[in-house]
Homo-oligomer: 206 residues x 8
Amino acid sequence: ARTGIPEVVFAEHKPLDMLLDIINSHIEEAKPLLVTRLSPKQIKALEDLPMNIDTHARTASYLAKAPANAPKLAIVSAGTSDAPIAREAYVCARFFGLDALLIQDVGVAGLWRLEKHLPTLQEMPLVIAVAGMEGALFSVLGGLLHAPIIAVPTSVGYGVSQGGNAALSSALASCAPGVLTVNIDNGFGASAAAAKILLHAKSRED
Amino acid sequence: ARTGIPEVVFAEHKPLDMLLDIINSHIEEAKPLLVTRLSPKQIKALEDLPMNIDTHARTASYLAKAPANAPKLAIVSAGTSDAPIAREAYVCARFFGLDALLIQDVGVAGLWRLEKHLPTLQEMPLVIAVAGMEGALFSVLGGLLHAPIIAVPTSVGYGVSQGGNAALSSALASCAPGVLTVNIDNGFGASAAAAKILLHAKSRED
Amino acid sequence: ARTGIPEVVFAEHKPLDMLLDIINSHIEEAKPLLVTRLSPKQIKALEDLPMNIDTHARTASYLAKAPANAPKLAIVSAGTSDAPIAREAYVCARFFGLDALLIQDVGVAGLWRLEKHLPTLQEMPLVIAVAGMEGALFSVLGGLLHAPIIAVPTSVGYGVSQGGNAALSSALASCAPGVLTVNIDNGFGASAAAAKILLHAKSRED
Amino acid sequence: ARTGIPEVVFAEHKPLDMLLDIINSHIEEAKPLLVTRLSPKQIKALEDLPMNIDTHARTASYLAKAPANAPKLAIVSAGTSDAPIAREAYVCARFFGLDALLIQDVGVAGLWRLEKHLPTLQEMPLVIAVAGMEGALFSVLGGLLHAPIIAVPTSVGYGVSQGGNAALSSALASCAPGVLTVNIDNGFGASAAAAKILLHAKSRED
Amino acid sequence: ARTGIPEVVFAEHKPLDMLLDIINSHIEEAKPLLVTRLSPKQIKALEDLPMNIDTHARTASYLAKAPANAPKLAIVSAGTSDAPIAREAYVCARFFGLDALLIQDVGVAGLWRLEKHLPTLQEMPLVIAVAGMEGALFSVLGGLLHAPIIAVPTSVGYGVSQGGNAALSSALASCAPGVLTVNIDNGFGASAAAAKILLHAKSRED
Amino acid sequence: ARTGIPEVVFAEHKPLDMLLDIINSHIEEAKPLLVTRLSPKQIKALEDLPMNIDTHARTASYLAKAPANAPKLAIVSAGTSDAPIAREAYVCARFFGLDALLIQDVGVAGLWRLEKHLPTLQEMPLVIAVAGMEGALFSVLGGLLHAPIIAVPTSVGYGVSQGGNAALSSALASCAPGVLTVNIDNGFGASAAAAKILLHAKSRED
Amino acid sequence: ARTGIPEVVFAEHKPLDMLLDIINSHIEEAKPLLVTRLSPKQIKALEDLPMNIDTHARTASYLAKAPANAPKLAIVSAGTSDAPIAREAYVCARFFGLDALLIQDVGVAGLWRLEKHLPTLQEMPLVIAVAGMEGALFSVLGGLLHAPIIAVPTSVGYGVSQGGNAALSSALASCAPGVLTVNIDNGFGASAAAAKILLHAKSRED
Amino acid sequence: ARTGIPEVVFAEHKPLDMLLDIINSHIEEAKPLLVTRLSPKQIKALEDLPMNIDTHARTASYLAKAPANAPKLAIVSAGTSDAPIAREAYVCARFFGLDALLIQDVGVAGLWRLEKHLPTLQEMPLVIAVAGMEGALFSVLGGLLHAPIIAVPTSVGYGVSQGGNAALSSALASCAPGVLTVNIDNGFGASAAAAKILLHAKSRED
Ligand SMILES: Nc1ncnc2c1ncn2[C@@H]1O[C@H](COP(=O)(O)O)[C@@H](O)[C@H]1O
Ligand SMILES: Nc1ncnc2c1ncn2[C@@H]1O[C@H](COP(=O)(O)O)[C@@H](O)[C@H]1O
Ligand SMILES: Nc1ncnc2c1ncn2[C@@H]1O[C@H](COP(=O)(O)O)[C@@H](O)[C@H]1O
Ligand SMILES: Nc1ncnc2c1ncn2[C@@H]1O[C@H](COP(=O)(O)O)[C@@H](O)[C@H]1O
Ligand SMILES: [Mg+2]
Ligand SMILES: [Mg+2]
Ligand SMILES: [Mg+2]
Ligand SMILES: [Mg+2]
Ligand SMILES: [Mg+2]
Ligand SMILES: [Mg+2]
Ligand SMILES: [Mg+2]
Ligand SMILES: [Mg+2]
């Protein structure tokens, strides 16, 4: 919280009782809370709590901030298998108070599917791009848009792209200026940085 | 230029005649130009041209934009050997129209040297951090500041940190939210992204 | 035993009957014994034996040495997920005859949580630091304390920190003097070295 | 020669006398010969021989086959630094009897520069793409063209793209169907395969 | 489809309902469809649909194009464990309209088993070679045949060949001219490129 | 200095004027100073200064602390090529106030050469072991001695041991308890940690 | 068989029916057969056949050659977890007609346990050494014995030794002359080479 | 010497005076000596000594043992650039007392060049194979010959084969039984092991 980002709990590796303790203390004090990386088993244990669960994004949120008049942000994903990470970024962004828009399945193998979204994307102050495989989407967007791009490489893929390193290298080595990168599969991190950029950075400039 | 960033020429691998052609055509048309990654031999060949040469940063610029009333930006570097990359970021940032401030030699081995700069850093909309070795500076800044951090890992170091991969991994795996990364030694890329954030992103938000 | 460290049994890969044979022969002869890396299934099989089981640390001990007047040692861990390895180090240290103190969840993302423990840590002859992700904790402690640090990188993390290599590189490349490293997840090894330092090294010096 | 490809000599690691022996025996027998990967020193030693030297491509050829009515082939390169490898592919292709066309400097950072060549490229039976950095060009071409693409990753780049592995992974993991890959910097190999496809494969089909 | 290759669905990571939607819409419109990388569970769910299921290749196809008078193509595999990938290539090739021939279990450990197939292979316009372990088959075929070779390294193997990297490197570093490579286990990609070569490339040449 | 270790200057990457400034300010104030990793060119520039230069260790020291009644420490090296790093450790240890003993050329290929030193080594509170190649010396010493071992892997070697990673892995994976590791070629780091152990740790224990 | 080694079937990846077919055809023709890498499920399916099953080694043999007057060979393993691979080597060696002797659990952490076996080992024409972790055993044996050593690195270990690469590098980089290596966990390969050396090589020399 | 192999001096990293000391003491005592990995500069310094210098193999020998009635051994190399390592193996083998035969330039790209040597090779008790690039020669020989093969991968190659790892993996993962491996470029090691096999192993068997 001291860094301006509301504390988000990372559920992986957390025993269930510890997780429930954290959640209940937030509900008692009516403090907003977001939990990410929930396993199916953990999700089942939260079903009866007053939380907003997104099975696909593997998140549960409580008292998410309403994004009225919030800064805009587009989250673009390349393929079907990138969807869970793109959704994690989306849920986090809204929780942090951003007016996020989710555009899915516009990967480079079918560049023409991206085209119709370009006018919308050109209006955005910031774009989060989520892609696995060879991650060509990062450079294509970076070469077409004025907005800075936050690249989220995903661990989707097999052979040389298994684990996400091929996509990560593509993001880092991108010859398009303005592409920034977070860790593989780190949808949360992309939106946390986006919030710092669109909320904090702005306030300092004025 | 179409992406809002003035074209910067990357001098590495460019034969001298090609380089001089590009520079002269800009001078003739009085168009601003920045050249990066100049070798000592290339720098010597540019000495008599009306350019602003920074030997340390390995850059030469022509008609750099004056940063009056420009957005602020701090560039923080960890050690003596990170200085050339930090300076490259600094020269690029000023060329892109940002009011950059350079704070050097405040690495983690002597945390107390960083302390006195914290009040200044807390006022910044964005911080570029340049560090090699184990890159602990990225997480320390990310854990202390509200501003988003653009991490530039450097190739400085030996053994496991040779080539910059240890510092790169530290930036990507940072447990502090709001740390974004560019390629190893890519001072240009950090400032290009900073310019897109502080100039473009801002204009879209208003 | 010939190297001054009581033989500790590594349970991984050991068939159950072999494990029980070893344990029973120690009980019969009333010789101290520590077993580490027990699987849940192995732990269940030891439940009725006169052993001290720590499910979290995955250890079982018999006749652990009482640490009266023993040298002090602090074990510091960064996050919730580093806890099992930190506990393994703790159980081993006490078994080896050290007066170990366990301080948990003081990672770099929240540097202020570490601050209040600094006076205690400054009094310690030796500190074991347990951290995954980017392992910035090692350099931060090494830059603040007079004590030598034994770093235990953990395999906790995803993307570039998966498997623990990012944290390991941070420990090895640390620019803070006095940071020594053991293998990823090797809580036992850190405490074995600590015992050699605090018990053997001391006796030779006098 | 038994595999349908005229023997091309790889000059790297070859002592000068051995190289001259090979060349002279071909000239005496008036047999066509291509030498690749010549060092500046080797090139100097060949200056007075009746060979066609291309300093940029680092090749020397003798009696290159005239490409009258030969199958067409486009060789596309991304950036200035990819030029030597693109030229190696070009010289080899013509030596093997293909009507090669060289299109340079159309990388992804400036997608609009590629656009004007698309009609020409759509008419080609085969395209060789030469790119370093993050190699996004391979997927972009693969997603736009009907022709199969032979990707030649280059060792151009720094940080994560140093040595060419990032571009190689992009080629192999490309989500666009029809992208085939050769070793990093292997312009010769791409054209040898192109010749086998356009000359041999065709003859078998008829 | 825009690139001349009928859209093939990659089933991995796809939820069952999404998969069934895609399939049903093709059946309704009587449009040909091929699904690859089906899990056993997904295969069970497709059993009652009017599709051609190949459990071994993990594929299901609908309205596969009849290969009358189609270009020929040989698919050669090295060992028993390479069979599923070889079959994936085979099913894809036939779906794309090629007259594919499957020759299995002719790996290098028993070179004499390959010998009897050489006359057939010498007649082929193109050969797909599927091999794991050390992938010596690629170079052996490349050194014996006039046809271009598309190498498909497989993830079969243990120790240094685990995951397929040893075979992949062998394909890329092959000293035999005319060997082209696709990603590890990418039987589909090899046949997609083969189709582009034998169908598209040919039509452009005429 | 705040961590109890006198500041040692790392000369690599430092311009000569910066280096001379640092040295002269120490001489003026008569403050002890150690410079490591000097290049031959830098060494030449220091020749006329009142410093103690060790060409082999690549160090220059000023006012090194006299080691009267200092704690003992053995530094053991495996082969001729490990000598420079072993000497760097030796010079640093003496500068930090330790009574260091240097035993060279006792690698594992000739175990019998190590034997005659065992009685001396058994008396030591701490042993630094310096080895490249496969680094078997670390485990052999760890399995024979009661003292903790600080392993310094060296970058000496070719093929799989090039750069020092094979020796580093051997140190980290050592099955002998009490082996601690520093970065490849980091003789300074080993002695800095030894000083913290033998000087600081001891003082805290009493 | 053409290479002098009786065909051994590798059971991994083989469907059960294929495996039974191979076995039954050998039993019908009374031809010797060895099957390796059997899964527990496969072993169960072979229980009623007239085969010699070794659950620990994961092998089943039929009509193993009697080793009367056979050449000797020692197989030495380092730790408990290396036992399955050591046994695989042992079963294979006996099947190939060698008089193999198995010496287990003599790793480097307890060098004194190795000592008592040295007289026996000095009499051997060849020694197979099986070790995981850091693989120091290979160099220790190579430095003590006149016999050539075939090193079998095992995948046993965690952290940097996970998967066996640390032990593999130790074998390859060993500074003791006469150490030869096979793939990680390849007990079969070590004994196949031993058989070629002790049976074939010998016959050629006479 | 204690392991049955005469001590061979590795010249790399050795200062000239140390090298001359070693050589002169051997000449004085008339003891045989072999020096490997000599640099051109070191070779020049030895020119006037009574030694047998092989510039190509980078060796100098004194009193090499005469190989009358010695065991035979073939050394086979793949390409021109593998020659120096093949010669190093050859000189070492003769120094160790083996009747070595050198067959060069028979790589897999031209399998037919290997064919004519097969009858000779089938008579050999042992074959050393030297190859870089993708190292297919190891498997091809292993699949054709009864003799055990010692593979020497070379660091020759570029892209994925740079440094020799592709050839090393091919040797280790070879599906042909009887292939043993030494470190990259280690011609000495291959011949040392060959000597232990053909001289020691044999004597123990009788
Ligand atoms: N999906 C996620 N990926 C990475 N970090 C996260 C994620 N969700 C939460 N976090 C971070 O993890 C921290 C909480 O860690 P913990 O104390 O282990 O719950 C939060 O402050 C966030 O910075
Ligand atoms: N130091 C640098 N590092 C990385 N990219 C750079 C650098 N300087 C310039 N560039 C980029 O390189 C492009 C120019 O490449 P080129 O056409 O080869 O000169 C510019 O548009 C920038 O995007
Ligand atoms: N630039 C190149 N890259 C890779 N292989 C090449 C190149 N030029 C020639 N070759 C191959 O190298 C073989 C000749 O190798 P060498 O016998 O060493 O001259 C030729 O038959 C070609 O297959
Ligand atoms: N455990 C093993 N590890 C490696 N290779 C083996 C093993 N067992 C058998 N083989 C080899 O695998 C070949 C048989 O492969 P396959 O035809 O798939 O059964 C045999 O000829 C042996 O060379
Ligand atoms: Mg993608
Ligand atoms: Mg740093
Ligand atoms: Mg941590
Ligand atoms: Mg490119
Ligand atoms: Mg194979
Ligand atoms: Mg060594
Ligand atoms: Mg071991
Ligand atoms: Mg080769």
